[in-house]
Symmetry: C2
Subunit: 328 residues, 2 copies
């Protein structure tokens, strides 16, 4: 089977490609080729038994998505996006990549596979940013999408389009609303949610991190490992079981910043926690105040999607996967 | 004040223009000019004390929406749409008019009023077709939008865009999800919901009408008079009171086809009811099965939107407004 990852240079795309290389198969079918595409050059995973192509380009450019799907991949992961903070500050850029890019992809798939009985599975990563405050204590599966960011708006629109193209039989889409991925490895990106990871990753690596919100801010998390698990499950799940409601809130772990710090103390001790510097930022606070704290993702759980067990687990996985077991 | 009606040749646009002509003012401000725009020539209302311009064009064509808002109307009613049945059968046409047309309008407003402190009120008519079955008995204000038609998808996307542009201060939008307007005067259009009106209007005018669904189908209705009332209220309501959730399910009247027919019997007698011919249509039945039956529009009611009192009232208003009091 042929797989395409759009957004292959991002953290989730890279982790996904490494997992595919390790597994060599997806849903019991051998992987014959993987294409990783992004605006910057993706890094191919090591040790893959299949061919890996990498490509760069501008997703919403004319003809771009036609070229991307010309060789008819069986599974398309669409992970590419301008992140929340940047999409909020650069209105046109956010809409161009996050909306037009997604629209063009769906149109290209529609026309490229027009005469094929079997349509490709398109896994679209949406976000809990489709929800906007005020919320119930736990956001249920039937709660409405009233995003308070342009990023959340673009993701909510992507979900609607994905469901409509699927309903019309033009492709076979599954949208998954990822929790905030924590701990994100690497360097900070422009996501307004970046600090949730920064305050774990940087102190564990011996560096200072800035905390722009108060300790009682609760948020909804999943580890990169759990995130990749969601993607693989979304790529292989029986579409009939999912029905017409193709967009699912993924299971996650609700934790306050204070609980994150407590877990960090257990894993790394007081010296690690002391590296967090409190520096309130009204711009970040305002965005975060409009975000979900906790969800009740019954449907995804019943469909077999699996969350992390505890925030301590999330941190230990990070130390194991990213720091070779060594805390700074 | 200057008013623009996009979709001015449609039934709701025409009724709205007649009401504006009669009132001469909107929200206490005198109307100085009205522009009615549509793909076919709108009919100006009689007896208006203000200037009425009519214009025709292709809404999503390049530059079209820029020209439409160039003279900076204070209130813009965006009523234009390819209706549900047609948008379902003509996928590209539906997206072009209902999505691209709306996107272009919002972009033109954004840029035209960029330097103005006061942004225009944009009233967008959405639809209960944003909801998709299965439903709760009554659809609450926080129920999610999982449309089962492309039309409903396009309306749900329009709502999201309207809210985001409003949140960013680019315009001042209010989206109203109209119940099915019943009794629609005139001739049948391509809306899959057309029969709800046909079985009232045609028999009352002495003609036969086809009923393609069973008597127990329940649906959510508002008279043209109530619909115009929603538009006027949406045009003048204080945006601060509405807050960030700019899209509202309008109040309506839940009635089964059987209850419609009972009301028809009371208003017109058995000879009128006998003009309904039952002719089941699986295509219409399938679309209608995915539609809402009943809502619980608390927010709109608390914000002062008003529904019809009974289906009999709806029919009597139709006989009065459209048939000069005479039943055929």
């Amino acid at each position: 089977m042929k797989i395409l990852i759009i957004g292959g240079a991002g953290m989730v795309g890279r982790k996904l490609s490494e997992r595919l290389a390790k597994d060599g198969q997806l849903g019991g079918r051998e992987i014959s080729a993987l294409t990783m595409y992004d605006v910057v050059a993706p890094t191919p995973p090591k040790g893959a038994a299949f061919k890996v192509h990498t490509a760069t380009g501008d997703l919403p450019a004319k003809g771009e998505t036609d070229r991307l799907v010309a060789d008819k991949p069986d599974v398309i992961f669409h992970l590419a996006a301008i992140v929340s903070g940047e999409a909020e500050q650069e209105f046109d850029k956010g809409y161009r990549i996050n909306l037009v890019g997604t629209q063009n992809l769906l149109e290209s798939v529609r026309h490229t596979y027009e005469k094929d009985t079997k349509k490709p599975r398109v896994v679209f990563t949406s976000s809990i940013a489709v929800f906007g405050a005020p919320f119930p204590d736990k956001i249920g599966d039937e709660f409405f999408t009233t995003p308070l960011t342009s990023y959340g708006t673009q993701k909510a629109i992507g979900e609607l389009l994905l469901a409509d193209y699927t309903r019309k039989g033009m492709l076979d889409g599954i949208g998954i609303r990822l929790p905030t991925i924590c701990v994100r490895p690497g360097t900070p990106n422009k996501a307004a949610s970046g600090f949730f990871s920064n305050i774990c990753r940087e102190p564990l690596a011996g560096k200072e991190a800035v905390l722009p919100v108060s300790d009682d801010v609760m948020h909804w998390h999943a580890s990169p490992r759990a995130g990749v698990g969601f993607l693989l499950h979304a790529a292989t799940i029986d579409g009939e079981k999912v029905g017409t409601r193709r967009n699912l809130s993924m299971p996650g772990l609700a934790a306050t910043v204070g609980q994150q710090i407590d877990a960090l103390r257990k894993v790394g001790g007081e010296k690690v926690v002391a590296r967090i510097r409190r520096e309130p930022d009204p711009f970040i606070q305002k965005i975060v105040a409009g975000w979900p704290r906790n969800l009740d993702p019954k449907r995804a759980l019943s469909l077999g999607f699996k969350a992390d067990a505890s925030f301590e687990d999330i941190l230990r996985v990070h130390v194991e996967d990213e720091l070779g077991g060594k805390i700074g």
